[in-house]
């Protein structure tokens, strides 16, 4: 049997490895210390979490967890020293790295990958859990939605004392709070912003209890909305915290009134789209549940700028890049909807990679409703390792093939997009995860933006 090293020694070794990795220029080293610690002694993470005076709060969702966590961090930061995995390292090793990097923190606020959530919950034993949504995502990696939902259910049952903050607009997620009196349920309550119909390939369309298709009084984002089963009556639970009187301001942001049992406050966020309203209401509900006054919640949400790569404007010479991450049908649909609401791009660079972090199965691009982008799109630059596949998606989707340029090389594609963008204009870029990282490295190498591990922490 191997004797465990004292925690402090393990951490010192792991930290040193992180700086070496950064010095060697190997991708920031954001998870290397955690990976090493994980190898040395997996239970060290449990002990690190137990040292936090105010415990740990976990945030998970298919879409929006990085932004939601950043929002919650912004609200909580003036009140408490927060350890936050802001660089998006959200597997068990990333959680460990964050705990190592911030030894003086009082509270850990951790974004957690939906697949890693059960293990992180078991080890960290959070005092609160914010669960945002479940959409189909990378079926090759996560498996079917039902499986993920079942694992979440078991994980939640294992921490009966944890405070649950759940999105009631998501049938699967909202149901996790049904049997827990203390659960805080949040959602949207403004049917003016509902979509006329469920999107193509919406998930969770059928009643959890009896299998009948839900009827929606309002569907907001994918299958999120105000639903009811016409057969057995299972319906969206009553909302404790809700966004009402929502106004969307194109690409510039959104505002809404946050209603909670404690009162109401008008919130302005600098992030666009209904999906960011969901993120803000979720973060707000969590903060209120942790005791933050609603006025401070609104103030904190107002200070948030985009989480990296999710929605980012980068100046490149006399042009700008508008980068919106796409990673699954529901998220990409919202990116498309936001762009179209703001007028729609004339030129777009869309980048599809198929590494593990992107999903090796690229079939999901056919479930995205890209069609609203086509009107007004003069040139599509398809790039990334699966550029041809993406070009087929747009071609068979109705975009004239004469308007599609296939440029697999990301930096060549970026230059081509910039060339097609007039001086002073903005180029829309929609990359998958690893393509986003690569594009950021390319513009960073040209001196236009900081590497994320320099801005993170």
């Amino acid at each position: 049997m191997r004797l465990p090293l004292p925690l402090s020694l393990e951490i010192a070794a792991a930290r040193a490895a992180g700086s070496v990795s950064r010095l060697a220029g190997r991708g920031g080293g954001t998870t290397l210390p955690g990976k090493l610690l994980w190898k040395l002694d997996p239970s060290a993470i449990d002990r690190l979490a137990r040292r936090l005076p105010q415990g740990a709060v976990l945030v998970s969702a298919t879409n929006g967890k990085t932004t939601t966590t950043a929002m919650a961090a912004e609200i909580l930061r003036p009140r408490v020293a927060v350890a936050h995995n802001s660089s998006g390292a959200n597997l068990v090793s990333g959680v460990a790295s964050t705990l190592i990097a911030r030894p003086g923190a009082d509270l850990a606020l951790l974004e957690v990958d939906e697949g890693a959530l059960p293990e992180v919950v078991r080890r960290v034993r959070p005092k609160a859990l914010l669960l945002g949504n479940l959409f189909r995502d990378q079926l090759d990696r996560y498996g079917e939605l039902e499986l993920v939902a079942g694992r979440w259910r078991a994980a939640v049952a294992g921490v009966p004392d944890a405070l649950l903050v759940v999105n009631g607009d998501d049938p699967q997620v909202g149901d996790l709070g049904r049997d827990r009196a203390s659960a805080v349920v949040f959602g949207l309550d403004d049917p003016r912003h509902a979509r006329p119909a469920l999107q193509h390939a919406a998930d969770s369309k059928y009643c959890l209890r009896c299998g009948t298709p839900y009827r929606y009084a309002a569907a907001y984002v994918g299958h999120l909305g105000d639903y009811r089963c016409p057969a057995c009556g299972l319906a969206r639970p009553p909302l404790d915290v809700a966004a009402r009187d929502i106004e969307l301001h194109g690409l510039d942001g959104a505002s809404f009134t946050l209603h909670a049992p404690e009162g109401a406050a008008r919130v302005e966020i600098g992030l666009p789209g209904l999906y960011n309203v969901y993120n803000a209401v979720g973060a707000g509900a969590l903060a209120i549940a942790l005791g933050v006054p609603i006025g401070d919640v609104a103030g904190g949400l107002g200070r948030v700028s985009a989480a990296f790569g999710r929605f980012e404007r980068i100046t490149v010479g006399d042009r700008r890049l508008l980068m919106l991450l796409i990673k699954n049908p529901a998220g990409a649909n919202e990116a498309v909807r936001t762009l179209v609401d703001a007028g729609g791009p004339r030129v777009a660079v869309v980048a599809l990679n198929d590494e593990i972090a992107d999903g090796r199965d690229v079939s999901w691009i056919w479930d995205v409703d890209f069609e609203p982008l086509l009107e007004g799109l003069e040139t599509l630059v398809a790039t990334g390792s699966r550029a041809a596949e993406l070009a087929l998606r747009f071609g068979y989707g109705g975009l004239d093939r004469g308007r599609i340029e296939v440029v697999p090389d990301l930096d060549v594609a970026l230059d081509r997009g910039l060339e097609l963008t007039p001086a002073g204009g903005e180029l829309t870029v929609l990359p998958t995860y690893t393509a986003m990282l690569a594009l950021r490295r390319i513009v960073a190498a040209r001196g236009h933006v900081a590497n994320y591990w320099e801005t993170a922490a």
Binding site: G143, E144, G211, S363, R393, Y396, V406
Partner: protein, 246 residues
């Protein structure tokens, strides 16, 4: 111009792997040849207009969705057998493929009945078979490139014809070296991807057979297909480099 009538079975339930990509490819490749695809959803409780459909499409769903359609599909079984016997084309992908077999035994050992349009049955396995796939289809002198993701192991009856031989990937059961099944104009496969955008020869074969059922015996004009070939090449390369091993 000939109208090709397509019956899309359970589009609300079985659509997990971008099945509309396959339909879009059929529609566009028919259109540029001067024909028209008329796609009708055939959902729960709806009759199958057996004699008026030239091509049936069945996609894949999550386990729960698949289980939801089983009783309804049983009620459509006779009409689908009649249509297939009359020369209608059937393409079934993933879950739809399993449902066309005689039965599916789930992890708990419960036997779900299929409609027996293809000579095979499926047994749930412990390990999911996930990854890029490349098939050789000697009967057509072509290859098919796609992506598979299934826990079910499909076993063909003695003498049944597979859709292709596995060059890279798992295929029906990860052991036989076979993928998919074909019987006359009925085709079943685990390959999504979606299948047809990067395998245009197969799309054209389905169209040619559907046109024949509609009364038009014709050879379709060649298309340039540069993007299709490029996408096929990348996908085939992925399968060779990282497809599952048999």
């Amino acid at each position: 111009m000939t109208v090709i009538r397509v019956g899309h079975l359970y589009p609300d339930y079985l659509n997990i792997y971008a099945d509309r990509g396959n339909i879009a490819v059929l529609a566009e490749r028919a259109r540029v040849r001067g024909h028209e695809l008329d796609v009708r959803p055939i959902g729960m409780g709806m009759d199958v207009p057996a004699e008026t459909i030239d091509l049936f499409y069945v996609g894949g769903g999550q386990d729960r969705d698949q289980a939801l359609v089983v009783p309804d599909l049983a009620a459509k079984s006779d009409a689908l057998h009649e249509a297939a016997a009359g020369g209608a084309v059937v393409l079934a992908v993933c879950g739809g493929y399993q449902l066309l077999g005689r039965s599916y035994r789930d992890v708990a050992g419960v036997e779900l009945p299929g409609i027996g349009l293809l000579p095979l049955h499926t047994v749930a396995g412990a390990r999911r078979m996930i990854g890029d796939v490349l098939l050789d289809c000697p009967w057509a002198g072509e290859t098919l490139a796609g992506f598979e993701n299934h826990a079910g192991r499909t076993l063909l009856d003695e003498g049944a014809e597979p859709l292709g031989r596995v060059i890279s990937g798992f295929g029906n059961d990860g052991a036989s070296g076979h993928e998919g099944c074909r019987a006359g104009r009925v085709y079943g496969t685990y390959l999504h991807g979606p299948l047809l955008p990067r395998n245009p020869w197969f799309a054209d074969r389905l169209l040619t057979e559907a046109l024949a059922h509609a009364g038009l015996y014709t050879e379709l004009a060649e298309l340039p297909d540069e993007l299709e070939r490029a996408a096929h090449a990348v996908s085939a390369d992925r399968a060779r480099r990282r497809g599952g091993r048999i």
